[in-house]
């Protein structure tokens, strides 16, 4: 169980770190709105890649953490409950 927690935590922290950095590049126009501004309208190729990567990292962090903290333990519990 501790291993599952560490895997989910590592995924969550690493992915959200990348999401925060990319959000700081593309979604932080000034000091007042940080990480939450809409995506820039015209972005170059690298910008489009980075914005897509940002969304992917966000959902990877959320779903990865949910997978290891909720889904897999639930499956394990269900398996032991069915096994009894």
């Amino acid at each position: 169980m501790a291993d599952e927690f560490a895997k989910g935590f590592g995924i969550f922290v690493t992915a959200m770190l990348g999401w925060m950095i990319l959000g700081g590049w593309y979604n932080t126009p000034d000091f007042e709105t940080q990480l939450s501004a809409p995506n820039p309208e015209q972005a170059e190729l690298y910008g489009q890649i980075a914005i897509a990567l940002k969304d992917a990292l966000f959902w990877f962090g959320v779903l990865g953490a949910l997978t290891f903290w909720v889904v897999i333990p639930a499956i394990e519990e269900a398996r032991t409950a069915l096994g009894e």
């Binding site: 291993d3 925060m20 950095i21 700081g24 000034d30 000091f31």
Partner: protein, 287 residues
């Protein structure tokens, strides 16, 4: 091992067999000279005679060897090698046997410390390279800002300066206040700092975890909540709430939180085997 340590150690285990019941049962089958010879025989966990084994639930060395795959195997091999090095050091030196099990600072502790240091230095470099801080326009020293506040970690002290409703109007003085509100606020700072300074003398910190002393855990939790509520009260002009209500909450919420923490910890203590844990951590008194 020198000759004196052998002779001093030779008498001690016989007392232990008489004193506590646990090891006596295990040692009954072994020859007496093997057990009385504390100098040569090193315990399998690397401890000399100085450490009391926790209880019967301690895994035997053969059970530990069964951890033969993955991370547990790596951990096992690491500690086995560390224990072996420690044992070799003890045997080749004439230094008196230590009472506390430990590993040498180099490399065991230093490798871990270097790993932690590298992680944090790397994180600082990464963040400072990718997210350089926002540098605003220079401050205008000619105009006074609308909101004047200390740094956030001093909000609690700033809130204690706003305790004017607590400053009593004494009828003895004809409705006058004994001191100005600002003097009262400064004295309130002294009272709070004094209370924090007195706590270590009232409680020596013998508990290893909050359930062992629910009252003091409740006091500490109430203090933490009071730090937050009084900090929030210090910025009450920024919080959309009635200031009098917030003032009352600043003092009622910590008491409520302390009561809840106390009752929760007290009820947790019912089923908590802290006797077992206390025995686990207890070391034999020094010779």
């Amino acid at each position: 091992m020198t000759e004196d340590t052998d002779t001093t150690d030779a008498e001690e285990p016989t007392e232990d067999v008489a004193a506590d019941g646990g090891p006596a049962g295990e040692a009954s089958g072994t020859p007496s000279e093997l057990r009385s010879d504390g100098g040569e025989e090193t315990a399998t966990d690397g401890a000399g005679p100085g450490i009391v084994p926790p209880d019967d639930e301690t895994p035997a060395w053969s059970e530990r060897k069964q951890r033969s795959q993955g991370l547990s195997r790596l951990t096992y091999e690491y500690f086995e090698r560390a224990r072996r090095e420690d044992q070799d050091l003890r045997q080749e030196s004439s230094y008196v046997e230590r009472d506390v099990l430990g590993f040498p600072a180099w490399p065991h502790e230093m490798i871990r410390n270097l790993a932690i240091t590298s992680f944090f230095v790397g994180m600082i470099i990464l963040l400072s390279a990718t997210l350089p801080p926002h540098i605003g326009p220079p401050a205008n020293s000619g105009s006074t800002p609308a909101i004047i506040l200390p740094d956030w970690y001093l909000y609690w002290s700033f809130g204690l300066l706003k305790l004017a409703p607590l400053n009593p109007e004494l009828s003895l003085l004809g409705g006058q206040k004994l001191m100005a509100d600002r003097t009262f606020g400064v004295l309130a700072n002294l009272v709070v700092v004094g209370a924090v300074a007195i706590v270590p003398f009232l409680n020596k910190g013998a508990a290893r975890r909050p359930v062992e002393q629910p009252f003091w855990a409740g006091v500490g939790f109430g203090g933490v909540v009071f730090a937050f509520t009084i900090s929030a009260y210090s910025v009450n002009n920024l919080i959309p709430m009635e200031p009098t209500l917030q003032f009352d909450l600043a003092f009622l919420l910590p008491v409520l939180a302390a009561c809840i923490a106390y009752s929760v910890l007290k009820s947790m203590r019912e089923g908590y085997m802290f006797d077992l844990n206390r025995r686990y951590y207890r070391l034999r008194p020094p010779k």
